[in-house]
Symmetry: C3
Subunit: 346 residues, 3 copies
């Protein structure tokens, strides 16, 4: 795609200073941009880059007073950051998620319905008795099992696998390779030490505006539902076990694992590679730092946890600061023992 | 699916108390059940729920004496838990894994054979010279490479990827997105610091009744076989490296990683996010707690390990209990030093 | 596949001692080999196995002087290890990656070009405007989005998912289920505590000879590129976030996670389950041991790190050695306190 500076200014209702006929074929950060790129200046800390950038054009504020002449064309707008974000969204839609229609062969089972203005990529599979909304984008090789429900505007990337009876809200994003609704890891030990599989007949429910990362896995409930509440964001390779509940607008970073039946509150942040044990409850606004392991429920809101096993961040930082000096501590202790033993023996 | 209470009682050879014409369309826990649901009461601790449940019907013991009248219809059987489990299994089979036949387009290569009563979903792929048993269920977009062998009754979910020459036993379950037989991570360092790929020509062998979780990865052996023994259960996102051997009825929880050539014994339990270094051997019935890292072989059976690096659980719990108080320990030590130094100086 | 000892000797320009008509159908380690297998003896530490091996034939050095008669046929060559590796590579190519042609149905979008001598498996998908080199092997159900560029000789295994605009060099290997180019995990917090998705419009660039493991995930840059430099080897289930850069010939073992905008130098080794925080820089030849968590940039080359949080390996080993004895340390401290307090009180 290629636009002129003038065309972009028109879309943004901005004013051009410089050559409006310059051609733009990509968006870039002001400090990295090269010819053909459009950039923006919002935080004035970056203003020096304006005079050295390789960008063909830069979106700036209407109120900016130049300290030097700009080699790049300028598009002056009310709010450069918002204007740039609008372009980013437009670009992403144009290049990635804006496709519509059906590529054959695509499979759709009996009694499934799907709304207008959708895309179904080649080799995508929709089972029987599904109800799928409008403006839904289903990339190639995605799998949607029987009796699933999917809301308007949801995007399912290539090869995501959604087991039967999953319920997905509106405007969700499911990235490639994510698996939603696989069996909970439930096995009943037998007298001989072997295990009998406990049938898992529940499902997964994602509310609206949920995002699920690439190759993440979310198990169905044994009975009932594993639930990801509105606006929660789940990163790549996260594991969410059976009957877990993730609260509204909670963020779970990559490679974190949450064990069965645990409930995470609203507005929580779980950093990368965190582990949460089963059957716990974390209060709203709990924050867990990277690689921590939480083994107890948290009842107070707003707690920061660190460590494996995790406790409050401040104490954990202090304990870790001393951990490094354990050899020195041991030496000091030995010195004291030597000194104190002398009088005893004497 | 919908059945009447009477129909379900007949299947279970139970006796109905109450309205046998009530319609049941799902199974639920007694404390969560609502109208239309069938539940069960086995552990008498839950008996109070019997009198308040929203379930339309509850399976109870023939010997149960009611303390109050039950609003729900009752189905009286000899063993409520077993009866309910039977229904769970029936339900899972009816809704998930009971499909039979071939959905086109499905690919099967030259000289491959597959037994009776199987399902091959649309866009599933079977390579050349495969021998696949009867009652096998292969979901859409699953991949089975050349010369694979798969036993009777095995279920392969959507998009699981099985490399050439893998051998899978009977009644195994491979969940969506699992990858079995990818190359071992073997590279020979060269004088210039780069790496030369060591060809990986071994395979993976899963014995009978093995379960592999969603998006788990199991590498083939460099030569010979990576082996998962009978009845082992591997959870989501687990990594099993080349030439590893997992013992019979061993359970490996989510996001655990096992490095190359390590042998895990029978009846072991590796909790979530555990790491086991390469070329080790863990005795039968070893238990490793979550997020632990095992760097040494374990020769004694029945050991419990914790920590990274891991040592025995009891000592690890004690060391962790004191770890939290390291700042206090340091302060006590400083106090002693101050006290002990006074006499020295005086 | 089956060859005679004589045929193999001819390929390797070796000399047969023993029965050149014996049939070989597999390769195996000398200590595990059975009838029908060909093995090799390079390290003379293994020489005793030569006289007891079940192999039908063994590749040995021209200069080897037998201490006993060999039951196996011998193929004498200049360098047994190199000869055997040649056979391994030949075997892997013959059985796995040597397939050519197109299996239908396979999808290729408008204006995409692909070079000679390629394989496209059934249900593989190539988007629009892709430029793909020669000798490329694309397994079934692989997905390649629009405007991707892929170099000569690259192998993409079953079900790997490559988002639009990814650039992949020559002779790369992408294992099954890997996801390349998924959205970076970028969300702008809103005043009400919810998150707004930041569009991710960058891409991923893999240089030549890069290997990506099964079910690994590599996110695209927010703007610009996430870059994996020449010869880097990425293991299974690794997570690489947006705008990360991995240096030349760096090795990243399974289940490691690297957070956004971090730059890893050349010739580094990150062991399994390691975590690297965001916006850091690790110097060339940094080594991080398994399960460690790196929270600070490393400016000196060749540093070894361990622990979570990580510090230098030697100090970490010492601190861990004492950590186990913390209960004893506490007891010693209490003893001293008891002793020292007596005089105070007296």
């Amino acid at each position: 795609m290629e636009f002129t500076v003038g065309q972009i200014a028109e879309v943004l209702q901005g004013i051009v200073e410089g050559d409006a006929t310059l051609r733009i074929d990509r968006l870039a950060k002001i400090e990295e941009a090269q010819a053909g790129a459009l950039s923006f200046l919002s935080n004035l800390k970056y203003e020096p880059h304006l005079y050295t950038t390789g960008a063909s054009a830069v979106i700036v504020s209407k109120t900016l007073i130049l300290k030097q002449p700009s080699a790049a064309a300028l598009i002056r707008v009310d709010d450069p950051y918002t204007s740039f974000t609008t372009l980013l969204e437009f670009y992403q839609q144009a290049t990635r998620t804006g496709r519509r229609g059906v590529e054959e062969p695509a499979f759709i089972g009996a009694d499934s319905v799907i709304g207008d203005n959708h895309y179904r990529g080649a080799f995508s599979y929709i089972g029987q008795n599904c109800r799928i909304g409008r403006d839904v984008v289903i990339f190639p090789q995605a799998y949607i099992g029987d009796r699933c429900v999917i809301g308007d505007g949801t995007i399912i990337y290539a090869g995501a696998k959604i087991y039967a009876e999953t319920v997905i809200g509106a405007r969700c994003t499911i990235h490639a390779g994510a698996v939603i609704g696989s069996d909970g890891f439930g096995f009943a030990p037998q007298p001989d030490g072997s295990y009998k599989t406990i049938p898992q007949i529940g499902n997964v429910v994602l509310e609206d505006n949920v995002s699920i990362g690439a190759n993440a896995t979310i198990d169905c409930a044994t009975m009932g539902s594993t639930i990801i509440r509105e606006g929660a964001k789940i990163d790549n390779l996260v594991q969410i076990a059976h009957n877990v509940e993730i609260g509204r607008h909670t963020v779970v970073a990559a490679q974190t694992g949450i064990s069965g039946s645990t409930k995470i509150g609203d507005f929580c942040v779980l950093a990368g590679q965190t582990g949460i044990a089963g059957h716990l409850s974390l209060a709203n606004r709990t924050t867990v730092t990277a690689q921590s392991g939480v083994g107890k429920s948290i009842k107070t809101e707003g707690v920061l946890l660190q460590g494996s096993p995790a406790f409050n961040l401040r104490d954990s930082l202090r304990a870790n600061a001393i951990f490094r000096h354990l050899p020195e501590i041991e030496r000091r202790l030995s010195d004291l023992e030597r000194n104190s033993s002398v009088p005893e023996k004497s």
